[in-house]
Symmetry: C2
Subunit: 568 residues, 2 copies
């Protein structure tokens, strides 16, 4: 599948450098920040022994972006996102992910470490989606990571889309393998020879398999965490039907589940659409997609794709059954099965971060946040007695227990840092709701609440302790709803229907998604892309795929507005 | 970790050939079976068009073992396991897995397709284990598949254990990479440079991460499905503690969870133990293990390992914190953290199959079986009217609904095959409970039950329809309990305490696990292995690791009986 590939809508020009080469700008910022942190540092001196022991390890993994984001000393002071989202979106995205503890850079370029807070979100998506596909009859399985060269190259149009990015294993230990072996870039050709073997009768249909795995596409340009990575995690569904009608129904059923992941879990609005032939999945009949909108860049972004493969692969791989409608005694014709494939990746998490994150860092919707509520004890000063501290911590523990009992994912932060430091830390991590609890709250039998999604006093409130669980649940539910509502308004406000060419490029430059009439010929599509691209001569164009790097419109949305006449 | 490696106890001499080279014997059997099936086939002729279209695909994936197991024509007749478990264990295991629809062979040797029924079991294990480790504070994450050569080779003793089996990626597309990149054989060296970066203070401890992934060890000899495969799925936990005491506690806590997976889910008894120094994980301090017993071979089998790594890796990778117990003003010494790693793989499924499977195929414990109950309509003959058939099927649907409503995983089999064919099919697949329902049952308001784990009339019974759900639940619970009970009795009956050398080899030859006094020196260990090996000169010895291929005793059990005196 083309989750990370034929992806012009994701061309948001994330120009950050890979970890090996931090930009001069980033280094300057890092140094400035480090200095600041050192001044603020309330600890005396760097432990040189420790640093020495660690330096070798640091060398091994490269010490690039991490300098800018997570220096040991900086941690003693207040670390924060030091670039605004609308100022340098790429740098903001990097910092938000690393300082928010979602991700770390890795010493193999284009690969990233997904830390527990982001992996938890992927697990939520998995469980939600898995429940739904299993209910409709899809079964999970596991095909191997490896595929032989011969099998990989079976479907020509398909492999052309991936050939340049296939990682090859040529050696095991010190021995050279007889034949090099590919790491799957997607599993159509891995699985379909076995579909040919397993599907022997119409009784074996539909065959609906899915797997949660990782695939490898060795992209050489501009890796971007979650959006464009050399190894990425996803699910890939592969199904076979007797009739095109049934297969087509499934394509949309799955697309609706993908929309649900975005809308219900991640609070991200998406548009369901169909790609143009030029942009569809290589080897398939047509591609449907859910597309989001990143306000900061004004670009559409591909969210997940559900493909109808028609009989292209089934003919190549000889997947057929006898026509069950043939009458007794008639020669039973062989019918090639109709196939779909569909994939949703950890890209979902990147889209979520870009949609909701702000200048203070991550903002995570409650339904997918590993920690939904953090409780921070406040009002304890140097003058407070040990008894006062102990008593407050005990009460905080009790509050935590009340919420845990209601299956709210809560953490009481009793670490030895100041409340201000903690507030900032949890804000960077995007925890949706903070409860503050001090002697004054205790006396008033309430907790102070602070919503992550609304800054300042507008996001503050109190809940009586007697109504703690219900109050927290209600707030979490409001946060989830409001995050979606705000993103949806922004998306709608930036969706323009354009009927004249003169309005088109200005609308794009105003960060809009444009609905246009279009004849759907490839010639016009290319021309529109080229002409809109020219307005952005200062932008970096991806050499590998010139049509993808330009500021262009979203094909799926275009396809939705299918009309015979054309903007050109 | 050494899940699939330093694994003398798994030396059950599975001598089956890889898929590329089906043995002459297997081919002979296959042909014989094919002929029989063709004779029995109630369909007229092979559809040659279909076969032609498929033949190309068959060539691609190799058409070895599949011929023996799953030929298209064979499916029309009764397919069954055509070799007894105690006659040719290796062939029995192969057939049981493929005909039971757990697994298919793959055209990259040593890699296998885990089909939905076996993958479902792995998901059950994952959910069960995940719940428990999360409860005690472990968090999941995802580190990359790849590791650079430099990082991989950091810990010498460790890499020595894996070097010969590491798969290397050298090319991407047609481009040669500057530096070759390894596919992780396990993730110690992948993760620990980052532990050094992330762990900055004792406040960051314990750090407890886990991942569910696959790793690659390119073994060159005797691949065996689930037990010894080039890619395998597992979880790997990696944790760091301030004190050895806390780390050691975790080692046993995890080991107990592993035992729980076997005992509670898979109904397989295991012994908890500790490996000798010779057999421990390369680079670690000590290795604990759960070990099962395969009665058919009389061998112990490693089930899962939980290692204490001590400070070996933390010294290598510079993972340290300042001593928090240092007094104010004192120089704070750097303490290297104490680490554990622990892994449990899909090998669990192989052990389960070997333990419970019988001459009719798989036997799957109810708790992990994808389908717990199958309902087969019976008593419909050629003479029955269409109304009678429809009416029976409706009643069967109603029974299915009753059980589904109680969250019992049930399937009504209304396919167009004979009841006998279906009985056999579901028995091969190991579905724990079959309900038969025909006009006679309907008239008597009951269903006929047939337990997979008890053959013939002893396993039969009836349940009144009014008590269907309760009756089925009770039966499933009995089956789970009885499977464990029987396996446990066999294990206990074959566990012998031996105090004289003269009794030792005969006891081993009688398929016993032996508890012996031992001084725990490596010299004696080697001698005992060598001397016991000599008794089996006709067995194939694994050239790569001579000490592992012989019929030997189980180290962990030996270690459990630690005494100063020695059998030698």
């Amino acid at each position: 599948m083309d989750e990370e590939i034929a992806d012009q809508t994701a061309a948001i020009n994330m120009e950050q450098e890979p970890v090996e080469e931090p930009s001069k700008n980033a280094l300057k910022k890092a140094n400035k920040q480090k200095k600041l942190a050192e001044e603020k540092a309330n600890k005396s001196a760097t432990n040189t022994t420790k640093e020495a022991a660690r330096s070798e390890a640091k060398k091994l993994i490269g010490y690039g972006i991490s300098q800018a984001c997570d220096d040991g000393n900086a941690k003693q002071g207040i670390t924060s996102i030091d670039v605004a989202k609308d100022e340098d979106f790429s740098a903001w995205y990097q910092q938000t992910l690393t300082k928010g503890d979602f991700l770390d850079y890795y010493d193999v370029s284009g690969c990233y470490i997904l830390k527990p807070a982001s992996w938890f979100i992927w697990e939520q998506i998995r469980d939600w989606f898995d429940l739904r596909i299993k209910k409709v009859g899809v079964r999970n399985c596991a095909f191997p990571l490896f595929v032989s060269e011969e099998v990989l190259q079976r479907e020509k149009a398909h492999i052309e889309g991936f050939a340049a990015e296939v990682a090859w294993v040529t050696h095991a230990g010190s021995a050279k393998l007889d034949k090099k072996i590919a790491i799957r870039p997607t599993s159509e050709t891995v699985m379909y020879p076995y579909y040919a073997k397993w599907i022997r009768s119409h009784r074996d249909l539909p065959l609906r398999l899915n797997q949660w795995n990782s695939v490898v596409r060795w992209e050489f340009k501009n890796p971007t965490p979650f959006l464009r990575t050399r190894e990425f995690h996803w699910q890939e569904g592969h199904t076979a039907y007797l009739t095109q009608e049934d297969a087509s129904k499934e394509v949309l059923q799955i697309l609706e589940f993908y929309a649900g992941v975005y809308e219900e879990l991640l609070a991200v609005p998406v548009i369901r659409g169909r790609k143009t032939d030029k942009e569809k999945f290589a080897g398939g009949d047509y591609t449907t997609t859910v597309e989001g909108y990143i306000a900061a860049t004004g670009r559409g972004i591909q969210g997940g794709t559900s493909h109808h493969l028609g009989q292209n692969f089934s003919k190549m791989f000889g997947i057929s059954v006898e026509d069950p409608s043939a009458k007794e005694g008639e020669k039973k014709a062989a019918i090639n099965v109709f196939q779909n494939s569909w994939g949703l990746s950890t890209r979902t998490i990147g889209v979520m971060v870009m949609t909701h994150g702000d200048d203070r860092g991550l903002v995570v919707p409650p339904r997918v946040s590993e920690i939904q509520v953090v409780i921070v004890p406040v009002g304890i000063t140097a003058k407070s007695s040990e008894d006062e501290r102990t008593s407050l911590h005990k009460q905080v523990d009790a509050l935590e227990e009340i919420l845990k009992a209601e299956n709210i994912r809560v953490e009481a932060d009793k670490r030895g840092y100041s409340p201000g430091w903690k507030f900032n830390d949890w804000e960077m991590r995007g925890v949706p709701l903070r409860l503050e609890f001090g002697p004054k709250d205790s006396a008033a039998h309430c907790v102070t609440t602070s919503r992550r999604d609304i800054e300042g006093n507008d996001g503050k409130g109190t809940i009586q302790i007697t109504e703690l669980a219900a109050g927290v649940k209600s707030l979490l539910s409001s946060i989830q709803k409001d995050l979606y509502g705000r993103a949806d308004k922004v998306f709608k406000d930036h969706t323009k229907t354009i009927t004249s060419w003169d309005d088109f490029v200005p609308a794009l430059n105003d960060k809009n998604v444009c609905l246009i009439p279009h004849c759907l010929t490839e010639k016009c599509e290319d021309e529109i892309k080229e002409m809109s691209a020219r307005t952005d001569s200062d932008e970096v164009v991806d050499e590998k795929a010139p049509a993808m790097g330009v500021r262009t419109f979203s094909e799926p949305i275009l396809a939705l507005t299918l009309k015979k006449e054309c903007l050109l």
